[in-house]
């Protein structure tokens, strides 16, 4: 994991990737980096909360199933904190049930990307979400429910 606590370049987007699986973090890291973004990595929920508070990333890609502190707890904690409540969260998970997605919606998530995902499309999605949120269109974006951010429920 990269213990980066300060933005190296304020012009570049800073994305936090929280996933206990190193291969997933690697895929995000490589693909976001080539798009000119900086990537912070957290291997579990506790680390993710810490990094979000200390680094104020522009967006968090959040896995749900992580040891000790899971993704739900991370989203709840950050949503309850003044400093972090406006950081857009996009879930990146293998859990595909309708129930999980409703829960993500209620927590104010801006996207719910299902694994396996296409890492090549990750950077444009991150850019889109960050820009729309910066323009204050977070709610509109949620209502749009674009298929890239809310892919169809594969398991019904």
């Amino acid at each position: 994991m990269t213990a980066q606590t300060q933005r190296a370049d304020p012009a570049r987007l800073l994305v936090l990737v929280a996933d206990d699986e190193p291969p997933i973090r690697l895929l995000c890291q490589v693909n976001l980096a080539v798009a000119g973004m900086d990537v912070l990595q957290a291997a579990d929920g506790g680390e993710a909360i810490e990094l979000a508070r200390s680094s104020a990333p522009d967006l968090i890609l959040l896995d749900l199933m992580m040891p000790r502190v899971d993704g739900w707890t991370v989203a709840e904690e950050l949503g309850a904190d003044e400093r972090t409540r406006d950081i857009p969260i996009v879930f990146l998970t293998a859990r595909a049930t309708t129930e999980d997605r409703r829960r993500a919606e209620k927590l104010g998530a801006l996207g719910y990307i299902l694994k396996p995902f296409d890492p090549v499309r990750l950077a444009p999605l991150v850019t889109q979400v960050v820009e729309r949120c910066a323009r204050g269109e977070a709610d509109a974006l949620r209502k749009e429910r674009s298929p890239q951010l809310w892919p169809a429920d594969l398991e019904g």
Partner: protein
């Protein structure tokens, strides 16, 4: 009285006939002699040596005597006249004239007449005596004939026929009738008649003994009536006036046996006659003979009927005891009853639903049986019918109809003209229907019917039918009880072997029976709960009561319920209930295992899909990234992605391998090697491999005792087991810590311990972790991946090597897995 034998009677008859014919022929001869004899004597004149006057006169005298003797007075007189003329014309000179000659001649002629008168008178008296004797003999002969025929008669009908046919003739009567007192002693019934005009007895078939009629009075007062004319009769019995055509004589006598009147006999004569003492005596004799014969035949008939009944009852009893197939037995019984006991015999049974079903119909003629069966199908019995079989079954009382009247038929047909015509055609005479009653319940009814070719039923027949019905009902009841017992026996034997639990409750909810499967499923002792209420004695029954108890006559379920049983265990049970009126049957199936398996299986699907999805998405994502041509990846990134693909592909293959291995283990198709190898060396190589991917904060250490000998087993599989245990130890030590592998000898086993200081395993889960698909509580092991197959596979493999595996753990302090493998020998 002993009547003469038939042969003797015939002999007397023959003698009587020759006497009367002789009598008739002598008269003719007399007349022939009266004409021919004088003529023949006269013709002697033509002879050359012609007789003298004296000789001729003598010959003429003989001729007159012969004619008078044979032909009587008239013939004698004719012969005397002819002889006088012949003697005068031919033999008295002057010949050939009728001039009287002298006094001699006159004396001769006078002699002729005197002889004719004397002789004819003499023999006429004899002839009269003979004629009287002849008439008396003829009457005696008729009586003999009556007696002879009576002796041959064996049925009442033959007796009556003999008396009336021969008796009427013997009594010089034109017609006759016999009336007998019926069983009740109050009524006279005309049982036979002969010679009367048609229909004279219509309305008079029976009449009361107390009535004011000649026969009733004769019987009542034991007095014969002899009326010389209709007028005389009408004077004595005014209501009879106008009956019976022109005035005629009438004799009515009581039939008395041993001082007891059994009936009366009536003779009607063609004309008015006087009843002299002889006539009266003859009638009395006839009446006496008739009475005795009727009584004799009655006794004989009664005895024969009794014998027949006894035989029938014996045969029937034997038949009833012969088989438990009561349907067939009752059908045979019906056949046994015809034709002696009944023209028609039928058996009807009450079905399970209370309907009345005809079991059998019997008649001598099979065609009639078939006809009756089709008629029975066309007119099924109405249970509410006011008479007949339904009534007998309903009221459990016998129905006895000695005389089936037309009114009864009309009533029975209930307005159905066609049916009425059919039953009239049958000529039914008398009927008995008796219920088959056992243990206070009507099982059916037995019907006996006679048509007009058979005698009416009597009280004796009713007694017989009742006795027969009693025996038949008892036999049927026994057969039914036996069948039920057999069925129950079969049922309980069958229930003992079914896997489904069956519990039978009575109407009050008390347990009647619990089969072994139910006792096992519900964790109860069947002996302890039988007789108790299910609610009070079987744990979880309130749940069953609430969800599976059927309403009366209904079926409910099956429903699957979680039951907390008496011993505290929880079990998923599928229950259905059937109410059969006298209680409820519940059927149970234990679905606990199915439920658990179902749950672990669906958990596995979710887990496995997640486990497969993660490496798959990593590989897929890495490949897509490497294929990007819009941007240039640096060489470090490429390198990392390539090695990530390799490790994730290996992980995938490991998961797939585990699933396949599980399949092979389950199918018993996994071949294991049996080699001798060094466990220490194997353990070290497992550790070396694990070191390659070791996360930070974890250290692997091996501690081997010096004297661990070679073991026997499959080294590759043992390597897999140890690798899995090491992998688990690392995975469940998220906070890091040492993982220690210790080897030593434990008796005939090499003991390999894999100890970590990780999360640990709660005690109640330590047993289950070796089960297939089992995974630790996700709340504690959040984020720890796995298929739930690793430990199951490990246990299976070790046990197949004749080794054993166990765990010792304390939550929060770590776990120690112990594998023991047999030493090589």
């Amino acid at each position: 009285m002993q009547p003469p034998g038939p042969g003797e009677a015939k002999e007397q008859e023959t003698r009587g006939r020759s006497f009367s014919s002789l009598l008739r022929s002598s008269t003719a001869l007399g007349w022939a002699a009266a004409f021919l004899a004088p003529a023949a004597i006269s013709s002697l004149d033509a002879l050359s040596s012609r007789p003298s006057y004296q000789l001729a006169g003598f010959l003429y005298l003989l001729a007159v005597s012969l004619a008078a003797y044979l032909g009587g007075f008239a013939a004698g007189l004719v012969a005397a006249v002819l002889s006088t003329l012949g003697l005068d014309f031919f033999f008295t000179p002057p010949r050939y004239d009728f001039i009287p000659a002298n006094g001699d001649q006159g004396a001769g002629v006078a002699l002729f007449f005197v002889v004719a008168i004397l002789i004819s008178q003499l023999f006429e008296r004899r002839r009269q005596v003979q004629r009287q004797a002849e008439a008396a003999s003829a009457r005696a002969n008729r009586l003999q004939a009556v007696t002879a025929r009576l002796a041959e008669a064996v049925t009442p009908q033959q007796v009556l026929d003999a008396i009336v046919t021969e008796g009427v003739e013997a009594a010089e009567a034109r017609a006759g009738a016999i009336g007998l007192l019926t069983a009740d002693g109050e009524t006279i019934e005309i049982v036979a008649q002969r010679g009367y005009e048609r229909n004279i007895f219509v309305g008079w078939e029976t009449f009361p003994l107390a009535g004011d009629t000649p026969m009733a009075t004769a019987i009542r007062e034991d007095t014969p009536f002899f009326f010389s004319s209709s007028a005389e009769r009408n004077a004595a019995f005014p209501p009879m006036a106008g009956l019976g055509g022109p005035s005629h004589a009438l004799a009515i006598l009581p039939l008395v046996v041993e001082g007891r009147a059994i009936g009366g006999i009536a003779f009607t004569f063609p004309t008015e006659i006087e009843f002299d003492a002889e006539r009266r005596a003859l009638k009395a004799t006839l009446a006496q003979q008739a009475a005795q014969t009727i009584e004799r035949v009655r006794l004989y008939e009664a005895e024969r009927a009794l014998r027949q009944r006894m035989t029938f009852l014996a045969d029937a009893s034997e038949l009833l005891g012969s088989s438990l197939d009561y349907e067939a037995t009752l059908a045979q019984l019906a056949r046994l009853a015809v034709p002696e006991m009944a023209t028609w015999c039928s058996v009807d049974m009450v079905g399970q639903d209370g309907s009345i079903q005809r079991l059998a119909v019997a008649h001598e003629d099979p065609d009639r049986v078939a006809w009756a069966e089709s008629l029975g199908a066309e007119y099924p019995p109405d249970p509410d019918q006011p008479m007949g079989v339904p009534n007998v079954i309903r009221t459990m009382t016998a129905e006895f109809v000695p005389e089936i009247t037309d009114e009864l038929l009309v009533e029975a047909a209930q307005g159905d003209e066609r049916l009425l015509e059919i039953v009239r055609e049958l000529g039914l005479r008398s009927a008995i229907t008796v219920p088959l009653i056992a243990r206070g319940r009507a099982l059916g009814a037995l019907s006996l019917i006679r048509d007009d070719t058979a005698p009416r039923y009597t009280e004796l027949d009713l007694d017989l039918a009742s006795e027969l019905a009693r025996r038949a009902a008892s036999a049927v009841d026994n057969a039914i009880l036996y069948r039920e017992a057999e069925r129950r026996g079969d049922a309980s034997r069958a229930l003992a072997h079914v896997d489904d639990g069956v519990v039978l409750l009575d109407e009050e909810g008390a347990v009647v029976s619990v089969n072994p499967a139910a006792a096992r499923i519900l964790s109860v002792d069947s002996a302890a709960v039988v007789g108790e209420t299910a609610l009070g004695s079987i744990g979880g029954w309130s749940e069953i009561e609430e969800n599976a108890r059927p309403s009366r006559g209904q079926t409910r379920g099956p429903v699957t319920l979680p039951l907390i049983l008496s011993d505290g265990t929880e079990r998923w049970v599928s229950v259905s209930g059937v109410d059969f009126g006298d209680g409820v049957v519940y059927a149970f199936r234990d679905e606990t295992e199915e439920r658990l398996l179902e749950r672990t299986r669906s958990d596995f699907v979710a887990t496995a899909s997640h486990e497969l999805r993660t490496p798959l998405s990593a590989v897929l994502g890495a490949v897509k990234t490497l294929q990007r041509n819009d941007v240039a990846l640096n060489s470090d990134d490429r390198e990392m992605l390539m090695s990530m693909i390799e490790s994730e592909a290996e992980r995938l293959s490991g998961i797939v391998g585990q699933i396949l291995l599980t399949g092979q283990l389950e199918a018993g198709r996994l071949p294991l090697e049996h080699e001798h190898f060094d466990p220490v060396e194997l353990t070290k190589s497992v550790v070396d491999s694990a070191e390659l991917h070791l996360p930070s904060g974890i250290e692997l250490r091996v501690q081997a005792a010096a004297d661990v000998p070679a073991v026997s087993g499959d080294p590759n599989q043992l390597r897999q087991v140890l690798a899995n245990l090491v992998d688990n130890a690392i995975k469940y030590s998220p906070q890091g810590g040492d993982v220690e592998l210790r080897l030593n000898r434990n008796g005939q086993f090499a003991r390999i311990e894999v100890a970590d200081r990780g999360l640990g395993i709660p005690l109640d889960e330590q047993e289950r972790i070796f089960e297939k698909f089992y995974r630790l509580d996700p709340a504690l092991t959040r984020g720890v991946n796995g298929t739930g197959l690793g430990l199951y596979i490990s246990k299976e493999l070790v046990e197949r090597m004749n080794g054993r595996i166990s765990v010792d753990s304390e939550p929060g302090r770590g776990s120690t897995f112990v594998v023991e493998v047999p030493l090589a020998v």
